[in-house]
Amino acid sequence: MRAERTVMLVLLAALVVVPPFLERYHQNVLVYVVLFSYLGVAWNILGGLTGLPSFGNAAFFGIGAYASGMLYATYRVSPWIGMWAGVALSAGLAALIGYLTFRFGIRGHFFILTTIAFAEILRNVVMNLELLGGARGLPIPLTSGDSLADLQFHTNRIAYYYIVLGLLIGGTLVYWKLKNSNIGLALMCIKEDEEKAATLGINTFRHKLIAFVLSAVMTSIAGTVYAHYVLYIEPTVVLGIPLSVQIALVAVVGGLGTTLGPVMGGFIVQSIMEYTRIFFSRLPGLDFFVAGILLIGIALLRPTGLFELIERLVPFKTSAK
């Protein structure tokens, strides 16, 4: 327990102290790495802990991006407020999808397909809404200087990094707390055997719904931060199937249902993809080609994820798994 805590604190200190000394493009990669780690943690609540893999989390990410992006672009509403509009919409959509799929007993392949279908409907609708910029996308108006209220940092780009790092730490704590709570136990019970869980008196419908909404809300917040980092929202990027797959990939590479697995997965998957994009910018598609190989490789060789390997090296026993 003590060794584990020391290792974690050292890693955390490194994540806080080192980045400002890195070159700018490494910082940019780190922002994506940490953002996707956080997205993986959020996905893991539903996909890993509860055993309901969603391939449509881009829907919530896109809602988070568009809700605050649109409010800022048209009414200059601060993203810190717009974020909650996205959260509310995402929670509503997750509750709707969850209600429909759980109420009508949609499982397995069909659950995956339904989540894809909802995200694709949303993409199709957004691409036809002039209010949201349609297929061209939605640019976010720039502020003249750095502004915390407007979530724009043109000179101190590193601020974005600390925001996503804060999200990651917060998200991981939420996941850890949830996992060690009664709700978390119930969710794991549902994953193992839903009928048995119901026999034990667990309200499976409500628990699955809680997991779905929590996962969606966390994903949505990341969408808001992303929109104000990139300052341009493209419907095919923020609502596309590749994003959904990438989020799931991060979690599975690290390890389904592990607390720190998605963090590790984010660092592995995202740094490979981002550096592929930077070093082979003349070869568009190579990043997702590599992601595809990672997907197949992890499924065939180590479906339980890579975090296990670390657990074998370091005597991590309790909270990590």
């Binding site: 409907i121 036809n128 595809g292 990672l294």
Partner: protein, 292 residues
């Protein structure tokens, strides 16, 4: 009567393109019915055959239809290898892991083709197919008609193979109960490979008949795979003829909704139908989904 013309036109061209959608969906459904795996990469095999046709056209000026004897076997061989080395190894794995294999394959094939051919759009012109037939109000392009007829013939061929031949019966037996089939001596793994090869072969045929009609690009598979999922759910998972009828329904739905709504929303309409069917008729419009 003036209002009826465009509607009739939409019905006919919807049904014709729907037959091609049906062909794609039938292949996807065969794999779901027999191997119980959802092949997310199914559309990529369609795309692969298009690019083989493109390559042959660029090198030798071959008409896409004459590329059939080359492209279909190549795609089928690819499918067989995929089944043998990737799918067979995860046959008992959780659904998520299985989906990862076929999703990974989708990314590898799509982006592999992007790396080789670039993200550009290509088309192959076939002058013989550019004519238009007129039947009263309705105009039908020769290319679309040919594509529909070839799709129907291919589906018919598959149906006869599955119902009238010894091997086809064995494949259906595996679909019904893999363990019982194994017990009476059916070589399950080998027939999985054959089924996968046939399924990808159907996608290859669909790709070739579509080639003269559309602009090809590396992500074109995604468009057809989404439609194929909708159709499969509509017609019933594992039901070959149901998938064909589902294809025609989706083709008509798209062309009619393009007439009344914004054309770009036609895919959203099809997806909404998909969710409704999934919720209220999970075994498809035609009931018993367990048979193929």
């Amino acid at each position: 009567m003036t209002e009826l013309g465009p509607v009739l036109q939409a019905l006919i061209s919807g049904a014709l393109i729907g037959a091609v959608y049906g062909l794609v969906a039938v292949g996807l459904n065969l794999i779901y019915g027999v191997v119980h795996v959802i092949n997310f990469a199914h559309g990529e095999f369609l795309m692969l055959s298009m690019y083989i046709a493109l390559l042959m056209n660029a090198l030798m000026g071959t008409n896409p239809f004459f590329a059939l004897p080359v492209a279909v076997p190549i795609v089928m061989l690819t499918g067989l290898l995929v089944q043998r080395y990737l799918i067979n190894r995860t046959i008992d794995a959780p659904i998520l892991i299985q989906s990862f294999v076929t999703f990974g394959l989708l990314l590898v094939m799509q982006n592999g083709v992007m790396l080789i051919f670039g993200p550009n759009y290509y088309s192959i012109r076939v002058t013989e197919l550019e004519g238009v037939l007129e039947f009263g109000y309705v105009r039908v392009s020769v290319g679309l008609l040919t594509a529909a007829v070839l799709s129907v013939l291919t589906i018919l061929g598959l149906h006869l193979f599955l119902t009238r031949t010894y091997v086809g019966t064995a494949i259906r037996a595996i679909g019904q109960n893999r363990f019982a089939a194994q017990m009476i001596g059916i070589p399950v793994k080998r027939l999985y490979e054959l089924s996968f090869a046939i399924s990808t072969g159907l996608a290859a045929v669909a790709g070739l008949v579509l080639t003269p009609l559309i602009w090809m690009h590396p992500t074109i598979g995604e468009i057809y795979i989404l439609k194929a999922f909708i159709i499969v759910v509509l017609g019933g998972m594992g039901n070959v003829l149901g998938a064909f009828v589902g294809g025609i329904i989706i083709g008509i739905t798209e062309s009619v909704s393009a007439l009344f709504l914004m054309p770009s929303l036609k895919e959203a309409v099809a997806l909404i139908i998909f969710i409704i069917i999934l919720l209220f008729r999970p075994r498809g419009l035609f009931g018993r989904a367990v048979r193929i």
